[in-house]
């Protein structure tokens, strides 16, 4: 590769690159983003001769583009599968509920609750799958943020207002920021990937799928006894009262534990002189 090729690749305004042989290489549009200078794993894509800076640069950019496309395709197929399974399960479970009337007695929800639950649960499921599929650790953290927020919405749907707020404040506001700081402090480059071997991926997927299917079978077969009771509205006052009477000892132990953990974490992460 000559220097002219490198320059022509660098100035990638036109979609065609004139090569020294005079042939036209109409490659697909390549994103010239942040990925030129970073250390991306060069995926084995180019069947041409290796050598020269231009080839390396092309392989780098094509590697990033290819991996993004690959990840998007993977995500969309798995997402479609799970959405189909989820809607089928929801339909069957609601059908079973209308037949046996096992658990729906205590839930005067109706259509609005149905729609809201499907939206929020779909968000939870999709973002959880995004967490386990994403290979970049920063993307995992972003998907986790979406997932924690959706779980907080699920708590609001379950009439646990205080816990929904706590989830948003502590998880999405505190723990997640802590994790992102951990990511930033422990990675040399934002594009570092730790890829497990294929066989381990397959084994883990098989184990998790088997566990999930068995859980679903158990859930679909179980008939829960439903408590006919009031659905509490604002529960914060009752919550605090229970916390300071019945659960006083665990409350104090949790306070001591938090103090110990604070001191211990500061000690672990301190700079050595």
């Amino acid at each position: 590769m000559t220097e002219r090729t490198v320059q022509s690749i660098r100035s990638f305004q036109a979609r065609t690159v004139s090569r020294p042989g005079g042939t036209l290489d109409n490659s697909p549009p390549v994103h010239w983003g942040v990925s030129v200078e970073t250390k991306l794993p060069p995926l084995s894509l180019s069947g041409r001769g290796v050598g020269g800076e231009g080839d390396v640069a092309r392989r780098l950019t094509r590697g990033s583009d290819h991996s993004c496309d690959h990840q998007g395709a993977r995500f969309s197929t798995v997402t479609l599968l799970v959405v189909a399974a989820f809607s089928a399960f929801t339909a069957s479970a609601s059908g079973a509920d209308t037949q046996t009337d096992a658990t729906s007695a205590a839930a005067p929800g109706g259509l609005l609750e149905f729609i809201l639950f499907n939206l929020v649960a779909g968000g939870v499921v999709l973002s959880a799958i995004g967490v386990c599929i994403a290979r970049n650790i920063v993307r995992m953290a972003v998907w986790l943020f979406v997932c924690l927020g959706s779980v907080a919405m699920l708590y609001f749907l379950l009439a646990a207002n205080f816990l929904g707020a706590i989830q948003l404040i502590i998880y999405a506001g505190g723990t997640l920021v802590l994790l992102i700081f951990g990511v930033m402090l422990t990675s040399k480059s934002p594009w570092v990937r730790f890829d497990p071997p294929k066989i381990e991926l397959l084994a883990a997927a098989a184990v998790c799928l088997a566990l999930f299917v068995s859980l679903c079978v158990v859930l679909a077969r179980t008939v829960w006894f439903s408590a006919e009771g009031i659905v509490p509205g604002a529960t914060v006052a009752a919550f605090g009262e229970r916390l300071l009477t019945t659960y006083l000892v665990p409350f104090e132990v949790a306070g001591v534990l938090l103090m110990i953990v604070m001191v211990g974490a500061a000690h672990l992460a301190r700079q050595e002189e």
């Binding site: 799970v82 929801t90 479970a93 609601s94 079973a96 509920d97 658990t103 729906s104 839930a107 109706g110 259509l111 149905f114 639950f117 649960a121 939870v124 959880a128 967490v131 386990c132 995992m140 986790l144 779980v151 699920l154 708590y155 379950l158 646990a160 816990l163 502590i170 998880y171 723990t175 802590l178 994790l179 700081f181 402090l185 422990t186 990675s187 730790f194 497990p196 381990e200 883990a204 998790c208 566990l211 999930f212 859980l215 679903c216 859930l219 179980t222 829960w224 006894f225 439903s226 408590a227 009771g229 529960t235 916390l243 949790a254 534990l257 938090l258 953990v261 974490a265 500061a266 672990l268």
Partner: protein
């Protein structure tokens, strides 16, 4: 068209399975920590759904979920501290390379 306990338990099962998959396949220590957070969230969804449908008004499940959130925050703080220490000593957080205690 009514939403019952089973639907919430199904969502929690999805969270648990994806969290387990994340823990099994990620090599980054912080990725494993993210999987643990997913599993803890699935436990919380279970607790609050049981509290809502099987014993409404008693708040036992919600208070247990609060303690789970507190313990998860403490665990995340300590684990991030440990990860930073591992990174200082080994210059990576790949759990496959941190085998110094393997014997």
């Amino acid at each position: 068209m009514t939403i019952g306990l089973t639907h919430y338990l199904f969502v929690a099962a999805v969270l648990f399975a994806t969290g387990l998959f994340t823990m099994m396949t990620k090599r980054n220590a912080i990725g494993i920590l993210i999987g643990v957070e997913l599993v803890l969230n699935s436990a919380n969804v279970n607790l609050i759904a049981f509290d809502r449908y099987l014993g409404p008004g008693r708040l036992d499940g919600q208070i247990t979920a609060l303690f789970v959130i507190v313990l998860a925050a403490a665990e995340a703080a300590l684990a991030v501290g440990i990860c930073i220490n591992v990174y200082k000593n080994l210059s990576t957080v790949d759990v496959d390379t941190a085998t110094r205690l393997q014997g």
